[in-house]
C-alpha cells in the first residue's frame, strides 16, 4: 500500500475540526445561561409581587456595593474555587468527588482544633499556616478514604464521597456540642453550640489592613497560587498525564505500567485536601469560630463550580467568582429587600441545567 493511501485514511479519520468549532460555544453558552437565568429570577420576583428595582438594588449592593461586600464576595469565591479545583483535579482521573461539603467540614474542624490548641503561640505566620496545613491534610485524608475504597474495592466514589459527607457533618456537630472537644464554655452571654473564637495570631492576615473595611484576606493569593499549581500539574507534568490516562482508560494505563490504584488514591486525596483547605480558610479567614453548619452548602456549590468549569482551572475561577458574588447578593437581597434567597438558588439551578444540558447537546455526535 502506498504512502498516499495511508495519508488519505489518517486524515479522514481525525476530525479535530468538530472540536475546534465547539470552543466559542463553551464561552457563549455559560454567559447566555447566566444572563437568562437572572432574567428569569427577576421575572419570578415580578410575578410574585416583589419589587424588581428594590431587589436588583439590594442584590447589587450585596454583591459589590461596598468594599466590605466585595471583600466578602471574594472570600466566598475563594472557598468555592478551592472545592471546584479539587473537583476538577479528581475529575482528571475520571473520578467524581461530590464530597466537598464533608471535606470542608473536616478541614474546618481540624483547622479550628489546631488554632485553638497549640498553633496560637507559634511565631511568624506559622500560627495560621499550621492550621491551614492541618485542615488541608485532614480533608485530604477524608478524600483519600474514598480513593482507597475505589482503588481497592471498586466502590463508586460518587456514593462513598457523598456518604462520607453525611458522616463528616455530624462529626463537626458533635465536636461543637461537646465541651471536652471544641465547644466554647458556657458564659453569661451565650451558650450556643460553637467553638470559642480562635486566637488573633491564627486569623488570616487581611490584604488591606489599612483600609479596615475590607475583610479580604490572604486566602485570595493563596487560592490564586492553588489555581496556577493545579493548572500546571494537570497540564504540564507527568502526574497530570498519568491521571488523565487512568481516567480515560484504566485497563490500558495499567497495561502500560501505571500504578492506577495509587493514582486514584492520590487524586482523591489532593481533591479532598483542596476542599479541606477551603474549609480551613473559611474558619481562619472570616468566621473565626466553628459552628456545626459552617459549611452551609459551600461544598455543593463548589461541586457545581467544578462541574461547570469542564475541567478548566480558568473555568473554576470564573465559576467561583460568579457563585461567590451571587451568594453575597442573595443574602443581602433577603435581608434588605425581604426576597427569599431561594430565588437566587433557583437561578443557580437554571444556570446549571442550561450549561449541563448544552454540554450534552454539544457532545452529541452528528448522525452520520
Amino acid at each position: 500500500m502506498s504512502k498516499s493511501e495511508f495519508a488519505v485514511k489518517s486524515s479522514s479519520l481525525s476530525w479535530p475540526d468538530g472540536l475546534k468549532g465547539a470552543i466559542p460555544l463553551q464561552v457563549v453558552v455559560p454567559v447566555v445561561a447566566t444572563i437568562g437565568a437572572l432574567l428569569i429570577g427577576l421575572l419570578i420576583i415580578a410575578i410574585t409581587g416583589g419589587s424588581v428595582s428594590e431587589a436588583v438594588e439590594a442584590f447589587w449592593d450585596g454583591m459589590a456595593g461596598s468594599s466590605f461586600n466585595i471583600g466578602s464576595s471574594l472570600n466566598r469565591a475563594i472557598s468555592l474555587g478551592l472545592v471546584g479545583l479539587g473537583f476538577i483535579f479528581a475529575n482528571r482521573a475520571n473520578l467524581t468527588n461530590v464530597g466537598g461539603e464533608g471535606q470542608i467540614a473536616i478541614g474546618g474542624m481540624f483547622a479550628t482544633a489546631m488554632a485553638l490548641h497549640g498553633a496560637g503561640s507559634l511565631p511568624f505566620g506559622l500560627a495560621f499556616i499550621v492550621p491551614l496545613f492541618v485542615g488541608a491534610l485532614a480533608g485530604g485524608c477524608w478524600g483519600a478514604l474514598a480513593g482507597v475504597l475505589k482503588a481497592k474495592r471498586n466502590t463508586n466514589e460518587v456514593i462513598s464521597t457523598l456518604l462520607l459527607s453525611f458522616i463528616a457533618l455530624p462529626l463537626v456537630y458533635w465536636s461543637v456540642e461537646s465541651f471536652h472537644l471544641l465547644r466554647k464554655p458556657i458564659s453569661d452571654v451565650s451558650s450556643l453550640p460553637e467553638s470559642p473564637e480562635i486566637p488573633d495570631a491564627t486569623k488570616l492576615p487581611l490584604l488591606f489592613p489599612a483600609d479596615g473595611s475590607s475583610p479580604l484576606h490572604i486566602g485570595l493569593p493563596l487560592a490564586i497560587v492553588a489555581v496556577i499549581v493545579v493548572w500546571f500539574v494537570l497540564r504540564h507534568t507527568a502526574l497530570g498525564l498519568k491521571l488523565r490516562a487512568v481516567g480515560l482508560n484504566e485497563m490500558a494505563s495499567r497495561r502500560a505500567g501505571l500504578r492506577a490504584s495509587w493514582l486514584i488514591i492520590l487524586a482523591m486525596g489532593v481533591s479532598g485536601a483542596l476542599g479541606g483547605l477551603g474549609g480551613a480558610i473559611m474558619i481562619l479567614g472570616q468566621q473565626y469560630y466553628l459552628t456545626s453548619d459552617f459549611s452551609s452548602g459551600y461544598g455543593f456549590d463548589g461541586l457545581v463550580v467544578g462541574l461547570l468549569s469542564r475541567g478548566s482551572a480558568v473555568g473554576v475561577v470564573i465559576g467561583a467568582l460568579l457563585f461567590g458574588f451571587l451568594r453575597s447578593g442573595s443574602i443581602n437581597m433577603e435581608i434588605t429587600a425581604h426576597i427569599p434567597s431561594a430565588v437566587v438558588l433557583i437561578c443557580q439551578g437554571l444556570i446549571v441545567i442550561a450549561i449541563a444540558g448544552s454540554a450534552i447537546l454539544m457532545n452529541r455526535k452528528p448522525n452520520s
Binding site: 507534568t237 490500558a252 505500567g257
Partner: protein, 519 residues
C-alpha cells in the same frame, strides 16, 4: 434483468469518501463476491443496500424498480436479508424463540416457525434443533441460525458480511455449500470477504473494491488469481511471502519460507522466555476458562496458539498481562517468577504484550500517539515532574519512523490512526521495552489490512530472530501456520495438542480446534 443494480453510488462520512461512484449488478442465481481489504468500503456498501445508511448519490434498483430503503425494515420487506459479522441472537433464548423475535405478525406461532425450519432443513440441509438455547451452540451453529432467520421469509437476496471470519475450516466448507444451494434455487448471494481462497471456491463473479472504488468486476471462470490479488492490494504481488499468501487465503507459489529455529531454542540450558505450569483460571461464575495449561516458549521461538475464539485465548492474554489476577499455577519469564505480579511489574520483568483488545487495553485512543508510546516510560522525559514535550515528540517521531507508523504527527490522537498504524504503534512500544525477553501477541492482525499484517509479522519475526520468545494467539489459522515454529491448539481452556512446523496441517489443527484430541 439484474436482481440488484447499483449505479454510481457515493457515500461520504464527513470529508471521508467511503464509496466513490460504485456500480455493480447482482443476478439471481449467482454468488457475487465483494472482495477488498479492510476499509475498502465493503461494509458501507452492504449498509446502503440494507438501508442502514443512505447514499449521497447514485441509484439502487431492485428487479428493475428504483429502491431506496428508508431502513432495514423496508429492505427486509423487499426480500433483502443480511447476516452481519456480529450475530444478533439472544443467548439465553431457544433457537425457535430467537427466530420469532421481530416477526411477531398476527399469524406467527412457534409451530409455524418450527414447521418452516423443518422445510428449510429438508431443502438446504440446514439442520438445527429449534429447542436448544443459543448459548449452547457453537459459533458455526449460531451462524446457521442467523441464516435460517434470513431464509424464513423466502428472500431474494442474501448479503453475508465476512461470514467466514469466525468459522473453523469445516464450518466454512458447510457455509459455502449452503451458498451454492441457495443460488441453485434461484436466489442471489452477495458474499463479502477479503479471502481469495473462498472466492476461488464459490464465486460466480467477483467485484473488487479498493478505497471505495470498484477496481474491476470479473467472471471467475478462468480468472487469473494473481490479477485479483493485484486489484485488491493495489500493487503487483509477484511473489507473495508466506504471510501474505496465508492472509488472503491463496496457495503460496514459492517454496515455503524456511523457518529458522534459532539455535537458542535447542539449547536446554537456556531459561525459557515463558513458562506456564498448571495455569488454571475459574471465572466469577466458577466456570473453568483456563484448564491446567503447561507451555514453554524458548527464546527465539514463535509459538502459536490456535483455536476458535472464546476458548480461553482472551483470558490467557489477560492473565499474562497481569490484568486477571485470580489464576492458579505459575508463570515465569526468563526464569523469573511472575505469580501475582501487577501489570507494571510484569512489564519491568521484560514481558511485552500486544493485547487482543486494541481499544480497551492496548492504547488510550483519546490520547496522542506520543503519549501512548511513552506512557509507561514517561520518566525518561521528566525532570522534577515536568514533561519535556519537545524531547518526547522527537523520540516519538524517531520511533514512528522506525516502525513505519504513518500519522500526520505524534501529537494527533491515537483514534486518528488507521487500525494498522495503531497496531504498529503498540508494537513499537512493546518491542522497545528494555529489558524484553518475551512478547505476547494476541490477535495482532485482527481488523488490519494486508500491508499492515505483513508489517506486523515481519516485526515479530525479526524480534524473534534476535532471541525474543513470542507467543502468538490468533484465530487466523493460515497466519499461524505461516509464522509459527510450533502451534498448540486450545479448546475449552485446555491445550489439546501441539504440532511442530514440519507437521503442520490445516486438517489436523482444524480437527483439534473442534475438540478432537491429537492422535
Amino acid at each position: 434483468m439484474a436482481l440488484l443494480e447499483l449505479s454510481g453510488l457515493t457515500k461520504r462520512f464527513g470529508s471521508f469518501t467511503a464509496l466513490d461512484n460504485v456500480s455493480l449488478t447482482v443476478e439471481s442465481g449467482e454468488v457475487h463476491c465483494l472482495l477488498g481489504e479492510n476499509g475498502a468500503g465493503k461494509s458501507t456498501l452492504c449498509n446502503l443496500i440494507f438501508g442502514v445508511h443512505k447514499p449521497d448519490a447514485g441509484v439502487i434498483s431492485l428487479a428493475g424498480e428504483t429502491f431506496h430503503p428508508a431502513g432495514p425494515a423496508e429492505a427486509l420487506q423487499k426480500g433483502i436479508v443480511m447476516v452481519h459479522q456480529h450475530f444478533s441472537l439472544v443467548p439465553n433464548m431457544t433457537v425457535a424463540e430467537n427466530l420469532m423475535l421481530g416477526r411477531s405478525g398476527p399469524k406467527l406461532e412457534p409451530r409455524i416457525v418450527i414447521d418452516r425450519m423443518a422445510e428449510l432443513a429438508a431443502e438446504y440441509d440446514l439442520r438445527i434443533d429449534p429447542h436448544v438455547r443459543i448459548e449452547d451452540l457453537s459459533v458455526g451453529e449460531r451462524q446457521r441460525v442467523e441464516i435460517i432467520k434470513c431464509l424464513l421469509g423466502d428472500p431474494r437476496l442474501l448479503v453475508l458480511d465476512e461470514p467466514t471470519a469466525v468459522l473453523q475450516p469445516d464450518e466454512i466448507d458447510a457455509l459455502l455449500a449452503i451458498c451454492r444451494q441457495l443460488v441453485d434455487r434461484g436466489k442471489a448471494v452477495l458474499l463479502v470477504t477479503h479471502k481469495l481462497g473462498e472466492i476461488k471456491r464459490i464465486a460466480d463473479r467477483t467485484t473488487v473494491l479498493r478505497q471505495g472504488k470498484v477496481v474491476e468486476t470479473v467472471k471467475m471462470e478462468g480468472a487469473d488469481m494473481q490479477s485479483l490479488v493485484r486489484s485488491m492490494v493495489g500493487r503487483d504481488v509477484r511473489s507473495p511471502g508466506s504471510v501474505l499468501a496465508a492472509t488472503i487465503g491463496i496457495e503460496n507459489q514459492n517454496e515455503a519460507d524456511s523457518k529458522v529455529v534459532s539455535m537458542l531454542s535447542q539449547d536446554r540450558t537456556v531459561e525459557p522466555a515463558l513458562q506456564l505450569s498448571h495455569l488454571t483460571y475459574n471465572d466469577l461464575d466458577g466456570v473453568t476458562r483456563i484448564d491446567d495449561i503447561n507451555l514453554k516458549v524458548m527464546p527465539g521461538e514463535i509459538v502459536g496458539i490456535a483455536g476458535v475464539e472464546g476458548n480461553g485465548q482472551t483470558e490467557l492474554g489477560l492473565i499474562l498481562a497481569g490484568l486477571l489476577q485470580q489464576a492458579s499455577g505459575s508463570i515465569s519469564a526468563g526464569g523469573k517468577n511472575l505469580d501475582g505480579c501487577s501489570p507494571e511489574e510484569i512489564t519491568a520483568a521484560g514481558v511485552g504484550i500486544v493485547p487482543e483488545d486494541r481499544h480497551a487495553v492496548a492504547c488510550i485512543k483519546e490520547m496522542s500517539v506520543e503519549e501512548n508510546l511513552f506512557l509507561g516510560s514517561i520518566s525518561q522525559f521528566t525532570k522534577f515532574g515536568f514533561v519535556n514535550r519537545p524531547a518526547m515528540r522527537l523520540a516519538a517521531r524517531e520511533l514512528m519512523r522506525e516502525f513505519d507508523v504513518r500519522a500526520s504527527g505524534p501529537e494527533i490522537p491515537m483514534s486518528g490512526l488507521s487500525g494498522g498504524n495503531q497496531q504498529k504503534a503498540v508494537l513499537a512500544r512493546e518491542l522497545t521495552l528494555d529489558p524484553l525477553i518475551f512478547l505476547l501477541a494476541a490477535q495482532p492482525t485482527r481488523g488490519l489490512d494486508v500491508g499492515a499484517i505483513e508489517a506486523v509479522y515481519s516485526r515479530i519475526r525479526a524480534a524473534s530472530e534476535s532471541g525474543l520468545g513470542v507467543l502468538l494467539i490468533s484465530s487466523e489459522l493460515e497466519e499461524l501456520i505461516a509464522v509459527s515454529d510450533r502451534i498448540a491448539v486450545i479448546y475449552r481452556g485446555k491445550l489439546v495438542g501441539e504440532l511442530s512446523s514440519d507437521s503442520f496441517s490445516r486438517e489436523s489443527i482444524g480437527a483439534m480446534m473442534s475438540g478432537h484430541e491429537h492422535v
